[in-house]
């Protein structure tokens, strides 16, 4: 099956869109997601891989396993031989995992090389910019996309920066450069919204009208959602008919409100930059007050202190293996953070937030896994791999499409040279929708920026 352009349907478990396709909000969403460039990929040739240790992550690894991909989807995972005459890749001695998923990337919006002109990730003009969309800042020529694929990444969420209390929409992309970012979108993935608590908004806006404090951050957040809630309900909360509110009372022509209403409807998934436990609890309270839920806290270095609550409320935790200390709110980070979250039954995710880390996200998961074992929070290798596969897929609302090796899911897989939870593992081959997009023996460059520098003087 070819990938399809937006809008097909938002994925199950996330959206009420399918049931409400005719409402104003949905119609405006569809118009905002038109792709000018044809975003349809050709159907990949059928392929089978044999002889590898297949690590589905949702169940135990399969020694000497076989995996088949037809029409871009996984059609078989087990120990049988491929059908006669099938195209077979011998992966004896290799390890096969789902394609890795990074919930926190700024590739394209803060591309390499680092140039002022290409810094398109933070719309630092006001503390709330929900009308801004990351995909409108993504530079598809960022060489980082190819580097990410070479590290086994098949899906990533590109987020606006964290200067703003509400920074704008994030976008879930395939890291395969197209001419425009719209055509790189993961087909059917819900939009996301980036919010931030703590130090960043108050640092950026403290001298520019506020918020000046954490109190101000929360006040701004409540005001924004109070307005959105009123608009969604057809008024401004003060009994007056709000300009822009639709006759049906389901939406608004205001683009920022359109975004926030999407959050309140549950159609747009919230991704919140937050470090400290108390800050996280504060934003969760606002969610309970206005009726939104947070899909993932990002960075969340103090998640271990509230891991019971996060697990209970089904809030996933996107964190690093070991970053700390660069700011006061990152001072209480601990190495087994992810392992402690998982221990409490929560969804742990290892994210990169880095053009370097995204190139070896498997190693970051491996470090966090081993650090958990050292600290007495032991998990299986499959659980550690879930931190960079199915858990991030869930945080992005695409877990029924990718993130594990289950029949019916997209053919997003990585063939590793050795156990993927090792420093030395190399992604030998990477497949997206059954297309081989990376071959370590024959690397390709898709970035125009990197062309021609080898020409001799």
């Amino acid at each position: 099956m070819a990938t399809s352009p937006w809008p097909v349907m938002l994925l199950c478990g996330v959206s009420s869109l399918a049931m409400a396709v005719e409402d104003d909000w949905t119609r405006r969403e569809a118009a905002g997601h038109i792709s000018v460039e044809d975003a349809t990929w050709p159907v990949a040739q059928e392929v089978w891989l044999t002889g590898a240790t297949v690590m589905p992550v949702t169940r135990e690894p399969i020694e000497n396993g076989t995996i088949g991909i037809r029409d871009g989807r996984i059609v078989y995972v087990g120990t049988d031989a491929p059908p006669a005459g099938a195209r077979v890749i011998d992966a004896t001695g290799k390890y096969i995992t789902p394609g890795l998923i990074d919930t926190h990337s700024h590739l394209g919006v803060y591309p390499s090389p680092n140039l002022h002109a290409h810094a398109d990730g933070n719309e630092m003009v006001a503390p709330e910019t929900p009308a801004a969309w990351a995909e409108h800042g993504v530079w598809p020529q960022d060489p980082g996309f190819d580097r990410a694929i070479a590290g086994g990444i098949t899906t990533l969420q590109i987020l606006p920066g964290s200067a703003n209390v509400i920074g704008g929409r994030g976008v879930v992309l395939r890291p395969v450069a197209m001419r425009g970012s719209r055509a790189m979108r993961f087909p059917g993935a819900p939009d996301t919204v980036k919010m931030a608590c703590g130090e960043n908004p108050k640092r950026v806006y403290g001298q520019r009208g506020g918020p000046y404090t954490r109190m101000g951050n929360v006040a701004h957040l409540r005001a924004a959602y109070a307005e959105a809630k009123a608009a969604m309900e057809g008024g401004d909360g003060g009994g007056r008919k709000r300009k822009g509110a639709s006759a049906e009372g389901r939406g608004s022509d205001d683009l920022g409100l359109q975004t926030l209403i999407g959050v309140l409807r549950g159609d747009i998934l919230l991704q919140v930059h937050c470090y400290r436990a108390d800050d996280m609890l504060g934003y969760m309270q606002v969610g309970e007050e206005y009726g939104f839920s947070i899909r993932s806290f990002h960075h969340a270095v103090e998640a271990y202190k509230i891991r019971d609550i996060l697990a209970d409320k089904q809030v996933s935790v996107s964190t690093w293996s070991d970053w700390w200390g660069f700011k006061a709110e990152a001072f209480d980070a601990v190495l087994p953070n992810a392992a402690m979250v998982a221990d409490a039954g929560g969804r742990a995710i290892i994210h990169s937030d880095s053009a370097i880390g995204v190139q070896r996200l498997n190693q970051e998961a491996a470090k966090a896994w081993q650090d958990g074992i050292d600290a007495g929070f032991e998990h299986s290798a499959s659980e550690a791999l879930r931190w960079v596969t199915v858990n991030p897929a869930w945080a992005l609302g695409i877990h029924e499409e990718t993130g594990s090796l289950d029949v019916g899911l997209r053919g997003d897989i990585v063939v590793w040279s050795s156990h993927p939870l090792s420093t030395y593992a190399v992604a030998d081959q990477v497949f997206i929708d059954g297309h081989r997009v990376h071959d370590a023996e024959h690397p390709v460059n898709r970035s125009d920026f990197l062309r021609g520098w080898e020409v001799r003087p």
């Binding site: 390499s112 140039l115 271990y304 970053w323 200390g325 980070a333 402690m340 939870l421 420093t423």
Partner: protein, 406 residues
Amino acid sequence: MIPLLLTLVHALTPAHAADCFYVSGVVAHTPDGPVADATVAWDGTRLLHVGPGAAPQGCQARAVPEGAHVTPGFVAMPTTIGVREISLEDGTHSNHWPGDQVAASVRVADGYNPYSSLVPITRLGGVTHSLVQPDGGLVAGQPAAVRLAGDTQAEVVVAGHRALWIAPGKLGSRPAGLAALRELFSGADLSGTTLGEHITSADRSVLSRARKERWTLYVPANRASDIEALLRFVDDVPMPLVIVGGAEAWMHAEGLARRGVAVVVDPLVYGPGGMDAIHGRKDNAAVLAEAGVDVILSSFESHNARALRFVAGNAVRGGMSHADAIKAITHTPGKVLGLKGQGSLSAGGSPTLAIWTDDPLDVTGRLHALWIDGRPIALESRQSRLVDAWRVLDGPVAPITTTHPR
């Protein structure tokens, strides 16, 4: 709070010089490469035995996991450990003097805090020594070589490493910076010039001594042409040079090797991160080592200097030999910093050693024990204490009443 700090910093009581210990059946990472099934023995002052064969009589055996590896302590450079507790909090910085273009007389060592939370945290990555850098202008000051154990500056600052941190680009343009450096080291009278306003008599005296005594110059540079210009600079002003960054250093591997110029590189960074690193490549470190350049591997991080061993593992992943990668975080930086007896696991050297459950460059290798100059180091840090404090969540976390005896 005080008792906690003292426990952390004092680690454990120093081993008695007469006590001697050994581990056997380990992989010992010596300057000549790994030695399998080796015995390593040490007392409070020196390594007594490294290699095949039995330990000296009377030494106590220390149990180690099967397949253990022993390395020297790792050397992280450059860092801001001990001079920058929290990056975004200027008030916690004591290595930063913006605006002073010539701060030759300023010594980072005077601002170094041996009680920094980064010290025990970094040690848990097997890192035992560091070069702490200043951050300023053209001549940023004198970096400090430190040992990551001990209570006072006098105890931890490694004497004898005479060096200056130089950043030509900080003067506005790189050629202007190099031109100014030629003037500064020639002893020219710059009073009356813009630069002259920054130069104290102490700076002048340090610059003159540095030139005469051939202090080491640390200079950040990534672009091949900048490295080339620096090589010409030290041809004119002969002083030991360490290139810091070196993303495109492989393009001048031969010239670097011939002049004995050391290069500090991060093998993870090729992207390119900046326009000065367009020609960066993942086997940069491997190519430099192959050409005989003194390669030092670095993460260029301070809070995460503990990850140095994984950086080295990635150099191996990028094509460097395992032995070269170990050397690039032990012997070579030890040599550049003038750490006598450190950085190599050989009899007679300092008893600074890390014992690992497995290959330390892979994530599966875990730190089993650490000794610095004959002192056993507790494998604890502020972070491990946080984990202990939050290990169990059962009901209200903070006790409402205290049961502490009065």
